[in-house]
Symmetry: C3
């Protein structure tokens, strides 16, 4: 099975940021995204239950270039103000040419 | 801690495919699976909210051989007709011998 | 974008273990965690629907040392008695120094 190595970008953020983050990743070149519910506690000691609506997990499969742009934008705009976690991994994607 | 390198196969698909996909991965040799809710938008521009019941994330920890069979089956039967994302990663699994 | 390679520990367990597992990972040095809903079937053939409340996915981004301690504790206390899956991956984390 032929696969393409791409980046999976995972962002965990307060749920009220969902729309804003989706707009950002699309503007930065993501061809799609996946959202799923989450809750938790971060190094700031803020529990999800104290936030309106908990957390959201936003995942994007993208080229290394688009992944890089997303991380840069997060670091510039979101990390200074919000409890956001972001990390990337290399994944082997079926029909990966659709995301590049 | 001894771990075994195995494949984590992640499939994100329209929720109505859940039962069908679970049957497939079990038939292809998966000893277990995890389902979680998801929603999103893909490169076909179809929003989850327009689908009945959103998306489902199906994850399987399996040997490279079983993972390969799952991807092949997806490519053959599901990718031509459905908005499916599938990717694999190597993960280090505790008690991994149970999955091989 | 500078990132730090860290371990993502993923634990999928019966939902009633949630509080206990969260206490464990915090005691073992995790600075945060993410919880999300899940359900599924494992190699013991127990379906989530037969369990009270399904499954929970607990994720921790941590140093290799903390990740190792978590896996050891799971192997010692949880694996003998519960249907638990646990695996680790290396992820590239933005502001990773907060987790080390």
């Amino acid at each position: 099975m032929q696969t393409v190595p791409l980046k999976l970008v995972t962002i965990i953020a307060e749920a009220f940021l969902e729309e804003k983050l989706v707009r950002e990743v699309k503007k930065l070149g993501a061809s799609g995204y996946t959202l799923s519910p989450a809750r938790g506690e971060g190094s700031r000691g803020v529990r999800a239950s104290e936030w309106e609506g908990g957390n959201v997990r936003l995942e994007v499969v993208a080229s290394p270039q688009v992944a890089e742009r997303i991380l840069e934008r997060l670091a510039e705009v979101y990390f200074p103000s919000y409890a956001v976690i972001a990390f990337t991994q290399t994944v082997e994607v079926v029909r990966g040419e659709k995301y590049a």
